[in-house]
Symmetry: C2
Subunit: 342 residues, 2 copies
């Protein structure tokens, strides 16, 4: 990287290093004779000068990068959040450093360290936490020292990391969904829940079943099936469920998959088993990822403004005034053709 340095520009323009710096970056006490500034700018352009962000970071003591940690960038849930984050970051003059963990919690820790090393100004960490005391504690510690060194953090999901959080109304949203489905006449339910330790999965499952219990409807234990939090997990869980209760057993049943990608996997499994979604079985999800616009029948779900979540988390991370703030994201039920009623 044999680059043109600021000294080169300064010398070539016949001014001092300091003047060149001020002319190009207009520092705090912005005062360079316009004429001189023009000359500097011109020679900088002529020489193809490109400021060294690393050197600037060192001299200034801060960078202009923001770290984003997601579970899987190819998952529409996260790519929508990423879209919001990049937009907001760009608006704030920051570049986004992307880390995709591939659902490996230990990777989150490693990435926080890397971002710490890069002296990223802020970190947005998206995706549900696991119920793993040790991992959470270590992550919390890593983020804590990151913050103590001047970095700021915002999480999207559960508010258990002691950082700013855009919290998703999992319990309430799932409860609302349960009531809405009950309102459409369903009395028979099944839940495709994620991995046991996955908090988001657990919260949604709980919110759903609790609300049903309050309505006097209990979900039979053999109709709650666990799996991964992914599309394939949903596929497998639905396949399991069908094997367990038979196609007839699902006749008037509404199956709640704790997220949309799982629900889509479940729809595929149902179809392949000869069930007609919306007719011989109801299916609902959670998140309202954009993909849903294009699947048929329309999937009932709980809408979460994902892009907005990314934008807000980014702003929170950047505007943090010390106090830890938790913003609740509203989650609204959207009933579509996948659950017309039994």
């Amino acid at each position: 990287m044999a680059s043109v340095t600021l000294s080169d520009v300064a010398r070539e323009a016949g001014v001092s290093l300091a003047t060149a710096s001020r002319a190009i970056n207009g520092s705090a006490n912005r005062t360079v004779r316009p004429e001189l500034q023009q000359r500097v700018l011109a020679t900088a352009a002529r020489l193809g000068y490109s400021p060294d962000a690393n050197a600037q970071a060192m001299a200034r003591g801060r960078t202009s990068t923001l770290g984003l940690i997601v579970h899987d960038i190819a998952d529409p849930y996260f790519s929508s959040i990423a879209a919001g984050v990049t937009t907001a970051a760009e608006a704030a003059g920051l570049m986004v450093t992307l880390a995709s963990t591939g659902h490996r919690p230990e990777k989150e820790l490693a990435f926080v360290d890397v971002l710490q090393s890069q002296r990223a100004r802020a970190i947005v960490i998206a995706g549900g936490r696991q119920d793993d005391q040790e991992v959470n504690e270590r992550l919390r510690a890593a983020l804590s020292t990151y913050r103590s060194r001047g970095g700021t953090v915002a999480a999207i999901g559960q508010s258990i990391l002691d950082v700013h959080t855009v919290a998703i109304h999992n319990v309430g949203g799932a409860g609302d969904l349960a009531r809405a489905l009950h309102g459409r006449g369903y009395r028979d339910f099944a839940v495709l829940t994620g991995p046991g330790p996955h908090l988001t999965a657990r919260e949604r499952t709980e919110g759903f079943t609790t609300a049903l219990a309050e309505l006097g409807t209990n979900v039979r234990a053999d109709r709650v099936v666990a799996s991964e939090f992914t599309r394939d997990g949903g596929y497998r869980a639905m396949t399991d469920l069908i094997a367990r209760v038979g196609r007839e057993g699902l006749a008037a049943c509404a199956v709640f998959a704790v997220n949309d990608v799982m629900a889509m996997g479940a729809m595929a499994a149902a179809r392949e088993a000869g069930l007609r979604v919306g007719e011989s079985v109801g299916i609902a999800g959670f998140d309202d990822i954009v993909t849903l616009r294009d699947i048929t029948p329309g999937l009932s779900t709980v809408a979460v403004p994902l892009v907005d979540a990314g934008v807000r988390a980014t702003r929170m991370a950047l505007d943090s005034d010390g106090e830890i703030v938790v913003e609740q994201l509203d989650a609204t039920v959207v009933l579509r053709d996948s659950t017309p009623g039994p």
Copy 2:
């Protein structure tokens, strides 16, 4: 960012700066007495030392970041590529800096400059180019100086930037698709092409119509409708087409949308117009984005290994031995229920 520095560690451990550096990073002539190294490592851990990547970048003269430029990270086409890039980058010990242009070509230029400033070691630039001499020339120039400064670049898409490229077989793939559809009995065709200047759109359109012409079938001019290269563009184009030729006019027609997201938009438009995709009209796309697994009827398309494209582009960028290399990505036709034949 009042961090613990290497000097702190050195002093605390009772060794010199140099020794501390070697103990922690094991430099080229890696030789520190194991016992000493242990002590240094221990105090580093105790003090919570985190190396400053910016300082290292300056001292070493190179960074460990790779820049990724895409049109829209929320588009499954690009998020799949991004997944491949992050995976390959991680394997090479690099972090990915993500830039999403929002389909604004001028943004690509700006991002190349930023990445240049960050001294990113390599840049992967994905997404079809526009037929805009000036913009392309400027981008080419920017990438050229980036390379002259020691950076490496790989593009995914067209090979017109004078850099390593993972090229997508647009013409051939579209031609194959045309022949396959013709083979299924279609004789009536329409094309939802993207924006006029969009090269990928143009190549696919040409490949398709040329192949048809060779089979003695011409696409009527009023059945080629332009729009944006997005899902909504496809929706609009299909709506236009229906308005233009009427629903009956599409009875035995196979509509080729030049990419999958457009095809999905087109399917939605068709449905809303009362057409049954796969029965009253055939629709096909290009790319085989993962989303297709979950839409019904299955969308016929030309499969492009997107994740792999990201991986390969990253490797090319990192292994570049000077010579500009162009890898052709094979594109294979996949016929599904959206085009059963007329």
